[in-house]
Amino acid sequence: MNWVILLAPLVSAVLITLVLHPLRKISAGVSVLACAVSFAASVKVFLADGAGSVSAVTWLDYPGLLTVTIGALTDHLSTLMLLIVSGVGLCIHIFACGYMKDDPGISRFFAKLSLFMFSMLGIVLADNLVMMFIFWELVGLSSYLLIGFWFERPSAAEAAKKAFIVNRLGDFGFLLGILGVWWAWGTVDFGELKNSVSAAALPAVLAQNPLAVTLIGLGLFMGCIGKSAQFPLHIWLPDAMEGPTPVSALIHAATMVAAGVYMLCRVFFILELSPQTLQIIATIGAITAIFAALIATQQNDIKRILAYSTLSQLGYMVLAVGLCATSAAMFHLCTHAFFKALLFLGAGSVIHALHHEQDIWRMGGLWKKMPITAATFLIGTLALTGCPLLAGFFSKDAILLAALHNNIWIFGVAIITAALTAYYMFRLFAVAFLGQARSAAVQHTHESPPVMTLPLTVLAALAVVGGYLGQQAYLGQPHADHAGGGLVLWLSVLVFALGAVGGLWLYLRAKSERVHVDIFANKFYSDELYQALFVNGQQLLARILDWIDRWIVGGLIVRGLAVLATVSGEILRLVQGGNVQAYATVFILGVIFLCYWVMVHLQHLF
């Protein structure tokens, strides 16, 4: 059964690419069907509750040295994740049928979407680090292909390239981390690692280098920094919004970017060996959370606001991992997948209806024109901002509670971020959906077709009940029972109310931007900083080295000889008349003579 989950999307991707691509509707249908099959199989695996790794194919086998399998590890962590990925994936596949209906490249789109499902499910099922790395890279590829789906646009082409390269930078660390794990414990298999890793009995190599444990953990975490777009490698995610909106929903909000968090939970037993590693993880998560939330307050593109919100929420999950609250992190990953996919699809519905308008200041009054989209978007907004009784409320509180117990500073940052989240989301909602129409396009718009609103409704339902389901699945008990639960609960309701009222009050009747903070609007100048430091720096280095290679290594020595040869060649040509055959003959005779000469001389030497 496990293989069906993985193979259905692969078969779909291959079939569409090789055979079905001229048939647009059938291609879309096959892709949706494949996703549905994966979902059904995931449900079956979840219900069967069969823990353990099964039926692996051996990819590399060096007994006692390195064994890499392509297997399927189905435990609590992965089966829940399978459900989220394939379930949310299914909603988004269906939505995309409507959203991409008129795009000439729809077959290509669905082939790539299926490739993505294959890779993502591979990460979830991975039973060892190398297999995870393999699918990790494939996910990077599908993300690259989908961001660059409209490759004729320079901005999309640049964004795709940037996403892949920045992710590669993270993978650099991830790979070193994997090598470190293998060096320390002699295996990359999760099952074997779990048995042999313990803080009490560190292998000799680690006992001698206490720093090594921390570095291995940080290496693995670097993979997460890239994939989950944590500070300072966050720069690719907002640009990734150049891809079609269903892609932003599925890959750049609900699933792929959460893979970093999933991976951290998977290898948590290694990370927790080093308190320093955990501290750095928590700090990076907290920085990302507040940094992205601040930027989100000043953006005007609906997808970019949601993108920065995604960054911020991923920061929450990462900081939860750093605080040892992996269940809370996974819980938030789950609820976030529901409501963020919902929000992105809602944004997609609006963008589709307004013919690719993404500026919220050219929307307004959509509440009346698109009631289902607006209502479901409101539910998503409430769920994200932590409105009591909706999904985000529970998972966010679980994280806040963990923070309160571990680190008061991080708790403070998380609370402020929560207030900011409510503020920027209600700003978005007020400007785009409430008030008067701000452009002519809005006047003539109407609700999207059922193929798009149905997934919205399903996701909205999940955003409402996901908190209750997830609490059962991840935490096992209502969190308010914990010490400090009451304080967190009231504080988070308070900051939600503050942020929401603030956002609504400022923007409900606003004609234009009310608050100007340039540094937020310009994303703390991170793109400019990167351009100056890395892009230009790397180009300068490349230029210098190229010059050295051309003129020093290649130049003086070789060109000198070449000139000599050309001159002698010219002289020879006078003698030989430029006959190629003659050159060749002379050359061969020369070589033979040389051989003979060397041999004779060497013979005397011995």
């Binding site: 590399l60 060096y62 590829l141 004729e152």
Partner: protein, 489 residues
């Protein structure tokens, strides 16, 4: 059955005679390369897995150089040479197939091309080291001529530079080989790899002798395989070469350098390798990092591919230098992967030049809109080059990284893994500028690889990359016994 190898070797030469006698050039070349591909696969299917030593052994007694010098023209395959035989036949078929029918002076062109093929085949099939050397030289001469006469851009300079470098390399190599020969005990002197093995497993060469011989061989073979800083000939030469020549040279001939080191240095000179490992590592890291960064700066596709090929040789050398199972296995996979991949990319480079009239990045753009199929194939080749899992190069590189981590201090691997970032930068930059974005102004109307008759050579190479990448054990089963033998496992 043992004559099959001889037939494979002689077939291209016979085709040369046929073409010279008036048979249609391209058709004949295509027929013989098809024949060779099929024949080499028959060899692979008949090959006894797990059996040690050479199979299909046959010798030509008339070609023995007698008592002055114990050399014999003797052919055979073990797992390693079998894989390289398959690589050679695959790449040569693709190279012949992508040669445009309207090439200038087609007779001469195809004869020289087939001479390269038989030289490469001879080098990989020879059990005798002296003939390995000689066949490689035989392959180089037509390469120089093809670059110098049929090349593009700066072809004269490129050909001269290539000739000087490779001739110098060959001389250093020859000195090393002769040194190797004469250091062996007098009554047991031989160039026959099996005989050498029999002698040296009993009494290995003295460590001091191993040292200087290794250095000569590393220099000689290193130049052939573009070890930094002896690499400048390679990008210029490959960029100037016509596409089929670049495919055969970068894809197959450069592998002879690695092959030679694997055959001689790994099993017989381990102590020598140990003495110079630090020097070798420095050069390797220069190959990966320094050349990698230089690759980023290239402004023309041919040069970029040439430099990237030099960089990938660094990864290969790294596997070789680690001298352990994972590293040597990785090096072998990378030989195949890089051979197929660079051949695919140079072939597409040629197509772009022919269709768009230029391969300068500045003049190209948006080609994916006009040539989606060509773009698709190029992206597969590019992704293989940047080490994407599922394609062959990754399978090799992951071996090499594990091996380097096992064999060397951590910083070696730390620096080498930068290679995956660097290669992503230059590959994606090339894809971005050539294929994405709006169609470049004043680009002539271009046509895609519209029919299967145009596409199949590229698809063949890409499919091979995919198969090895997804299931590397397919090739590992051939080479594992050989490597275990070298390491005495």
């Amino acid at each position: 059955m043992s004559e099959l190898l001889l037939i494979i070797l002689v077939a291209p030469l016979a085709a040369c005679l046929g073409i010279a006698a008036g048979l249609p050039a391209k058709k004949t070349a295509l027929t013989v390369t098809w024949f060779n591909l099929i024949a080499s696969f028959i060899v692979a299917f008949k090959f006894q897995l797990g059996a040690a030593g050479y199979q299909f052994v046959s010798s030509v007694p008339a070609m023995s150089l007698g008592d002055y010098f114990d050399t014999n023209l003797k052919f055979g395959v073990d797992g390693l040479s079998l894989l390289l035989l398959l690589l050679t036949t695959t790449v040569s078929l693709a190279a012949v197939a992508v040669t445009p029918a309207d090439t200038r002076r087609p007779r001469e062109f195809f004869i020289l091309l087939l001479l390269i093929v038989s030289g490469a085949l001879g080098a990989f099939l020879s059990i005798d080291v002296f003939f390995l050397y000689l066949f490689h030289e035989l392959a180089l001469i037509p390469t120089f001529i093809l670059v110098g006469v049929w090349g593009n851009q700066d072809r004269k300079f490129a050909a001269i530079q290539m000739t000087i470098y490779l001739t110098a390399g060959s001389l250093v190599l020859l000195a090393g080989l002769l040194g190797f020969y004469f250091t062996m005990p007098e009554q047991a002197r031989s160039f026959d790899l099996e005989a050498i093995r029999a002698t040296l497993t009993v009494t290995p060469l003295a460590a001091s002798a191993q040292g200087w011989i290794y250095l000569l061989l590393l220099g000689g073979f290193g130049i052939l395989a573009s070890l930094c800083p002896f690499h400048t000939w390679a990008p210029a030469g490959d960029a100037a070469a016509p596409a089929p020549v670049a495919m055969l040279h970068a894809g197959v001939l450069k592998k002879v350098g690695i092959y030679g080191l694997l055959r001689l240095a790994v099993p017989f000179l381990p102590a020598g390798a140990q003495q110079y490992v630090d020097l070798f590592l420095i050069l390797i890291l220069l190959n990966v990092i320094y050349i990698g960064v230089v690759t980023i700066w290239q402004k023309e596709l041919g040069f970029m591919l040439g430099y990237s090929s030099v960089m990938h040789m660094g990864m290969l050398f790294l596997g070789l230098a680690s001298m352990n199972v994972l590293g040597l296995t990785g090096a072998v996979i990378l030989m195949l992967a890089h051979g197929l991949d660079i051949a695919l990319l140079f072939a597409l480079n040629g197509e772009i030049r022919r269709r768009a009239g230029t391969t300068r990045f500045a003049a190209l753009g948006g080609l994916a809109q006009r040539m989606p199929k060509l773009a698709f194939l190029f992206i597969i080749g590019g992704l293989a080059s940047l080490g994407l899992p599922g394609l062959a190069n990754f399978a090799g590189e992951i071996h090499v990284f594990f091996a380097a981590w096992q064999a060397f201090p951590w910083w070696v691997t730390f620096l080498a893994v930068w290679g995956i970032v660097i290669s992503a930068v230059y590959v994606l930059r090339a894809v971005r500028t050539i294929f994405f974005g709006p169609v470049a102004a004043d680009l002539p109307p271009t046509e895609d690889l519209t029919s299967w008759s145009q596409r199949w050579p590229f698809v063949l190479l890409a499919a091979a990359l995919l198969v090895i990448g997804c299931y590397p054990r397919l090739v590992l089963q051939f080479v594992q016994p050989v490597i275990d033998g070298w390491l005495g496992l």
